[in-house]
């Protein structure tokens, strides 16, 4: 091999190394900013909106960079979050469902936020913030800041309702009647009057509407007592006696997706889902969509849903401070307005609601007002570290068993209460 050829091969051989080195030293737009990892569970349209907001955050300031990573649905993301906490590799920031906040807080893995600059000045709507979302939530250290908060609402196919000459059902009796009238075989395909995921969130709404509470005043898990039985019995009536409700296939959010697909394809006339799907439904339905508060029984009552932003205590201090800057920016009126009007989630700041009112947004989009007005009948979650376990291990399987297999509601709930009281 000649000397020239040898030199050439050295130069060519060094090129990848030089490129690699250049890539390592050039950090792109991140520069020397403080960085924080953020794990999120927003999919589809919500993900697009989040990424747009993060892009704007990066453009508006030069001190903080957020490394946002999608981690699957709420439950999958929670599983990964717990694993990362155990492995001491937790992100600085994530968001978790309301039911799991007390569990994580009592386990000591959430960063107390009271001492962070500006924490006490956030202009949050009480019913959606930690104070109003939990019984006694304001007496505990602040660990959760609301962002994508929701309530369950009722979506109706206006075309099918008009054809059947029906109005909006206001209570369970009217819902049952409407579901009977709307259940038909049309062009060889069955249209179901009503559909709703057979799961915790909607059952909790029904327990509240029937006048019950999940946990009594001294902290015992009662699962609503007689109201819990009445709620379960109502579902069983719709599924087995009237045969007007389709229990969707799958569990957890798979059942939610099936319910939504059935509604959009015209196979279910009335569904219960989250206000979070409002914009998605409006953009994808090929029929007029009507939206209303959930029908009441002895009263109207709904739980709140969606998630809270949390900082993880085990993350490095610099990352937590960077994450706090982003979190604070996200709940400012401009961002919460963009988020809620683009998705259907509730705006979490008073000033955001006032701005939307003043701009005439709610006049132009009356469906967005439904969830907002429903906040008057919100039942706070109990601050119970075992609530998440009661949901996952006891109530969800019980509901499935009772609604699909027709197990006796009273006996099933009695067994569930015993299991919930066991260590």
């Amino acid at each position: 091999m000649s000397g020239r050829a040898s030199r050439r091969s050295v130069v060519v051989g060094s090129l990848p190394l030089a490129l690699l080195s250049a890539c390592r030293s050039w950090e792109g737009p991140r520069g020397n900013r403080s960085r924080a990892a953020f794990w999120y569970s927003y999919g589809g349209k919500n993900r697009e909106v989040l990424e747009r907001l993060i892009g704007r955050f990066h453009g508006e300031q030069a001190s903080t960079w957020i490394d946002a990573t999608f981690q699957g649905d709420y439950f999958e993301a929670l599983a990964k979050l717990r694993t990362s906490i155990a492995a001491r590799a937790a992100p600085a920031m994530s968001h978790v469902v309301a039911e799991v906040v007390p569990y994580l807080a009592e386990a000591g893995v959430l960063e107390p936020l009271d001492g962070y600059p500006g924490a006490s000045e956030l202009d949050l709507i009480a019913g959606l913030a930690q104070g109003g979302s939990y019984s006694g939530g304001s007496e505990r250290p602040l660990v959760a800041i609301p962002f994508n908060r929701s309530t369950p609402i009722m979506y109706m196919n206006g075309e099918l309702l008009d054809r059947a000459g029906l109005g909006t059902p206001a209570d369970w009796t009217e819902l049952r009647h409407a579901a009977k009238e709307l259940t038909r075989v049309r062009d060889g395909d069955k249209v179901w009057g009503f559909e709703c995921p057979v799961s915790w969130w909607f059952w909790v709404a029904m327990v509240g509407a029937a006048g019950g509470k999940l946990v009594d005043d001294i902290g015992r898990v009662t699962l609503g007592g007689d109201a819990g039985v009445r709620a379960l019995d109502f579902w069983q009536t719709l599924v087995h006696r009237d045969r007007v409700m389709r229990p969707p296939l799958g569990r957890d959010y798979n059942a939610w997706q099936v319910t939504m697909q059935d509604f959009l394809s015209g196979r279910s006339a009335i569904i219960w889902s989250s206000t979070a799907f409002l914009r998605y439904v409006e953009e994808n339905a090929r029929f007029p969509v009507r939206v209303a508060a959930l029908p009441g029984d002895v009263k109207r009552s709904v739980p709140t849903g969606g998630t809270f932003f949390v900082l993880l205590r085990g993350a490095p201090e610099a990352e937590k401070r960077a994450a706090w800057e982003f979190l604070k920016w996200m709940v400012m009126p401009r961002q919460t307005i963009e988020w809620s009007t683009s998705t259907g989630y509730l705006p979490v700041a008073h000033s955001a609601v006032a701005e939307l009112e003043a701009s005439g947004y709610y006049v132009a989009h009356p469906s967005d007002r439904v969830a907002l007005e429903q906040l008057e009948s919100v039942e706070p979650w109990p601050w119970s570290p075992t609530l998440f376990r009661v949901q996952r291990e006891i109530v969800d399987p019980l509901l499935e068993d009772a609604v699909i297999e027709g197990a006796g509601a009273a006996d099933a709930l009695e067994t569930a209460r015993r299991e919930a009281s066991a260590p």
């Binding site: 439950f75 999958e76 599983a79 717990r82 694993t83 906490i85 155990a86 994580l104 386990a107 000591g108 893995v109 395909d189 069955k190 229990p247 296939l249 799958g250 569990r251 957890d252 798979n254 196979r267 998440f388 376990r389 996952r392 291990e393 399987p397 499935e400 068993d401 699909i404 297999e405």
Partner: protein, 288 residues
């Protein structure tokens, strides 16, 4: 044969034993230890003795996972073997159409489980799915194939059979092509019909292929997870909760590391027992 160096064979075993120890035995030991604790990954573990096993037993979760897994595996192994053999015998001949059908049957095996599961969820829809429409067209009542707890497990097994039958067919085809044609010709000259030739020549000579197909499809069926995760998430009413999915559900959804570890220990014991039974059956056959 006597080795030149006394410890030579052991030295050669070290890499395999090392990998086995690091990636199988040590994790199994950790799982066995954790199965005696109550732990949610976040709070300190608390020693609870055998309570995790007792809880799984008393709540019927162990029996349910055991029953579902064995039932699912039996249907998958028997179904894929029978169909694979039938396809192999039918398609063991030259021709462009036969070749196309062979490729078509095998193609299902190379498609991802996720795609297969999503496709079948659409086909099996109770109201609008193709399967329900066909069933109704012949005058039978359509069922909720994935929503009825008495049917869902068999539906998942049928989907799995559809997916892996092509694999069984290819193994059986290779076995069939190893059988010397002279044996069939001699038997035909002796007056043996097709059925007799299959029972006396083909099937005995295909037995090694059958054992291989049975073993590998048993392993595949015991590892089933994707199809459950996507199509039913273990429901309805836990009717499709197989062992692997039950472990996932306990640790990642219910936050119970101890109970998941107890399931892992029982599951490993079950696989070990099946392996021992299989080895014994092979040894007995060799001796015979």
């Amino acid at each position: 044969m006597k080795p030149n160096k006394k410890y030579g064979p052991y030295a050669m075993l070290v890499p395999t034993l090392g990998l086995l120890g690091i990636f199988f035995l040590y994790p199994l030991f950790v799982a066995a230890r954790q199965s005696l604790y109550s732990w949610d990954l976040l709070t300190p573990p608390a020693y609870v003795g055998w309570s995790n096993y007792a809880a799984l037993w008393q709540k019927g979760e162990l029996a349910r996972a055991f029953r579902n897994t064995l039932l699912y595996s039996s249907v998958v192994v028997a179904g894929s073997m029978a169909l694979g053999l039938a396809f192999a015998v039918a398609l063991d001949r030259p021709g462009k159409i036969v070749s196309f059908v062979r490729s078509a049957v095998f193609s299902a095996y190379v498609i991802s489980w996720v795609a297969v599961a999503l496709l079948f969820m659409w086909l099996l829809d109770r109201d609008a799915g193709l399967v329900s429409r066909l069933v109704r067209a012949v005058g039978l009542p359509a069922r909720s194939w994935l929503g009825d707890p008495h049917v869902a497990l068999y539906t998942l097994a049928a989907v799995s059979v559809w997916k892996i039958t092509g694999y069984a067919m290819v193994i059986f085809l290779a076995g069939l092509q190893d059988i010397p044609p002279a044996l069939h010709e001699a038997a035909a000259l002796d007056g043996a019909n097709r059925l007799v030739r299959f029972l006396r020549i083909t099937w005995p000579l295909l037995r090694p292929s059958a054992v291989f197909v049975a073993t590998t499809s048993l392993i595949m069926s015991f590892q089933a997870f994707d199809v459950v995760r996507i199509m039913t998430q273990g429901g309805p009413v836990h009717s499709t909760e197989l062992f692997v999915y039950a472990i996932y559900e306990q640790i990642f959804m219910n936050l119970r590391v101890g109970r998941a570890s107890a399931l892992v220990v029982v599951y490993s014991g079950l696989i070990l027992a099946l392996t021992l039974l299989q080895l014994r059956a092979w040894r007995e056959r060799r001796v015979a």
